[in-house]
Symmetry: C2
Subunit: 185 residues, 2 copies
DNA sequence: ACTCTATAAGTAAACGATTATTTACTTAGG
DNA sequence: CCTAAGTAAATAATCGTTTACTTATAGAGT
């Protein structure tokens, strides 16, 4: 391992950028903070990625590729797929957050990476009384619902602690059952 | 109508801030742009609201109060409520966007205003096999699903144009039917 | 009615701190 | 020793906030 490693530096920048943008968004994300977290300097970011815009897009694409790899499309069993997505977002909020931010701040860039992934799911949606794309948006949305709900709201409206693993597991069960019913059993 | 009107100026600032923050978020929102849109100057914003943080919170609360007034809670008919929410967000994306941004950028401030509103819905959830809070998060999420889906994704995955009113109406029907089934008919 | 004035409403400009981006320079390695 | 990798520092623009100032308006005292 040489002291100078372009590939490794690029990867460190990408990882740091993903963490930064998922946490603070594009407008709130700081280039010099990414450089410090990646143990390099801003000049390298511009050398490898061109600018803040391109860095964000690269981080977004990277995150969605990881999700696609960790949670493969399962068009034949959407309920199981929803459960997988739920677990994935529960173990790490990064992907959900950067995707949300992309949707709000850079809607053009938001579509492309998700496109390939979700298209595979909508391709074969089994036998449902509903339109395939409607089902897809519903299922994808249901899998995120828990994490999009303000925690303070859950704390006050629910009798149980939303951070309790048992509570989360209960919601997961409700999710899988709901998608099951939604897709026509 | 006097040339000097504190109440009117305050209202203009609040409306301009809501539009600005819904469009660009907290970090991306600019105080001087709000001042210009409100036909006043930044000093007034600090006189009336104290600072950017408090201005955002005031705009968020204002937006959710408008939503609560326009789409009253209907715990007895969640499917109809979901349809109302869908129509509301379809006619104006402001509330959905600023709420999403608040959830990402200011999670502490995000909960409170929504709290009262959604608590009323979850209070009486009729007869459902699922937990009341689970149902609430599902229904609220389903009503937003269409607008949280990247338009580019819909354009490529769906055979129909997602901006076509007929297509939107079809999704609305699917939404109401789904919530109906979800709440145990 | 009529000033006079205290105070609220409004404005312009500057301050100080950041921020994305670039220029100029240094160093390691084949 | 030449090129790619890495670094430091400057640039130029921007942004939230404050200071210092001006103007209108309502009400008290005559």
């Amino acid at each position: 391992m040489p002291a100078r490693n372009a590939e490794a530096t690029r990867t460190r920048i990408l990882d740091a950028a993903l963490a930064e943008f998922a946490d603070r968004g594009f407008a709130g994300g700081r280039v010099d903070r990414v450089a410090r977290a990646a143990e390099t300097n801003v000049r390298m970011i511009y050398a490898y990625f061109g600018g803040k815009d391109a860095l964000f897009d690269a981080a977004l694409t990277s995150a969605i590729e990881r999700m696609a790899a960790a949670v493969p499309p399962r068009p034949a069993d959407l309920a199981a797929w929803a459960g997988d997505l739920f677990d994935f977002h529960g173990s790490d909020a990064t992907t959900l957050r950067i995707a949300l931010w992309a949707q709000l701040e850079r809607p053009e860039a938001a579509a492309e990476p998700l496109d390939d992934y979700l298209a595979k799911v909508s391709a074969v949606t089994g036998a449902s009384p509903l339109d395939a794309v409607d089902v897809l948006t519903f299922v994808y949305s249901l899998a995120q619902a828990w994490y999009l709900t303000p925690i303070g709201l859950l704390l006050s409206a629910d009798g149980r602690d939303p951070r309790d693993p048992a509570r989360v597991a209960a919601h997961r069960e409700a999710l899988v059952a709901t998608v099951h019913r939604l897709t026509g059993k």
